[in-house]
């Protein structure tokens, strides 16, 4: 069973690596949207520092959204998804394998790019470690919650737009606590409560999102 899980994970990673453009597009989108803000808001350091945490997170979420609709769609279109549903591996585990692969190819590059963009926005130096911590705790939750939207929109027309409408509201709690933690670090307040909440959301999404997505995929396959 673990073998089948790693087979799916390795296959998804291999496909993403061969189609490198998918990863590059997500990171480029993140970098470009964030760098629009200094142009739009103006180059005053203190204003940018004030909004830095929110801008980085909102843009990270939008970049994640860009990659969500493809998560199951290719497998659905070419018949792979029904064969995966017929494998001995439970569909919930298939979803989990695919979300881990999604996080490795979108979440990790976003984490790597975040500190650079934070520097661009003049983020307070005390916040950098916290920024990394909330990215590490938050981006897997984004991938997991994203599977729900991606699976619910299988077979729908204009699935990409629909995914955004379904998933962005689910992302709000992550956004609130992630930005809260970064702001608290900037003001030398304790960040622990925010991080605990982010950890709790990840812990809840880890079993619940695959359950919900698997149910939606079964529905889509009938």
């Amino acid at each position: 069973m673990i073998k089948a899980f790693t087979h799916i994970l390795v296959r998804d990673l291999r496909i993403s690596m061969r189609q490198g453009s998918d990863i590059v597009v997500v990171v480029m989108f993140f970098v470009i949207t964030v760098s629009l803000f200094p142009f739009g808001v103006g180059p005053e350091g203190n204003i940018l520092a004030r909004i830095a945490a929110g801008v980085v997170w909102v843009c990270a979420m939008l970049a994640t959204l860009l990659s969500l609709d493809r998560m199951f769609l290719n497998d659905y279109d070419d018949g792979s998804l029904e064969l995966l549903a017929l494998s001995s591996l439970p569909l919930e585990a298939v979803v989990l394998a695919k979300s881990v692969a999604h996080w490795l190819v979108t979440g990790l590059p976003l984490i790597a790019a975040a500190p650079l963009l934070a520097m661009l926005l003049n983020m307070a130096t005390e916040s950098y470690l916290t920024l990394l911590a909330v990215m590490v705790l938050g981006t897997p939750t984004l991938s997991l919650m994203g599977t729900i939207g991606a699976s619910l929109t299988l077979g729908a027309r204009r699935a990409g737009v629909l995914v955004s409408i379904l998933v962005l509201p689910l992302y709000i709690p992550v956004l609130i606590f992630a930005v809260g933690a970064i702001d608290a670090a900037a003001m030398s307040l304790p960040t622990r409560p925010h991080l605990l909440f982010l950890g709790a959301m990840l812990a809840a999404a880890l079993p619940l999102a695959p359950l919900a997505s698997a149910a939606a995929i079964r529905q889509a396959l009938t």
Partner: protein, 214 residues
């Protein structure tokens, strides 16, 4: 434990509804070890729906399917892991090579050694390292059929498996189905052409359509 040595597959009074329209009703079938069930009927008579129903991808509106005396809902995991389904799509990733595609499906089934033999059987060995996006429609179908040759499963559900196949590959498929039956497997397939498979059980689906029952 059910007697896994004698795979028996049957369905009782199956009723299938697609989009509020009854496709077939009161359908019974049974297949014992080594038999080949051929589904016949015009387009839209529910051959694909019946195969998806047999695979467990669709739920019947009423009626049940049995494996070894148990309904498939009793042990869905056993049912899923002991069948091969070949649908209309070939489930091939264009960016992976031919052998990577096949190794993946065999690997998910826990089988890794038989990939080369399965490729050989369908004449795909010379193409093993080629990206699958370069394959023709017939080659894609052969790769999909190599998938069922690469890992054993007692029940095969084949939805028009000969689509796009040339006569040589069709002969390979017929031979493969023969081997499968000789080792006690069951093959259920829908087809419009006579493949020359010996001793088949034919199931004409139009007799179960709602129009013919009134």
């Amino acid at each position: 434990m059910p007697q896994t040595e004698i795979p028996n597959f049957s369905g009782e009074s199956l009723h299938c509804i697609r989009g509020e329209r009854t496709v077939f009703a009161g359908l019974d079938f049974s297949a014992s070890s080594g038999s080949a069930l051929i589904l016949q009927g015009p387009n839209g008579s529910g051959k694909s729906s019946l195969l998806r129903l047999m695979a467990g991808l669709l739920r019947p509106a009423s009626g049940s399917l049995f494996r070894d005396g148990l309904t498939i809902e009793d042990d869905p995991e056993y049912h899923r892991s002991s069948l091969h389904y070949v649908g209309h799509h070939d489930a091939i990733k264009p960016v992976l090579t031919v052998s990577e595609n096949l190794s993946f499906w065999a690997g998910v089934r826990g089988e890794t050694k038989s990939v080369g033999a399965a490729l050989e059987r369908f004449g795909l060995s010379p193409l093993a390292d080629m990206a699958a996006r370069l394959l023709s429609a017939g080659q894609r179908r052969r790769l999909n059929l190599a998938r069922i040759a690469a890992s054993p499963a007692p029940l095969w559900l084949l939805d028009e498996p000969t689509t796009a196949l040339d006569s040589a590959s069709t002969a390979v498929l017929v031979e493969l189905i023969g081997d499968h039956r000789a080792s006690g497997g069951i093959a259920v397939m829908s087809t419009h052409t006579d493949l020359g498979i010996p001793e088949t059980i034919d199931l004409a689906l139009d007799q179960f359509s709602p129009a013919s029952q009134h």
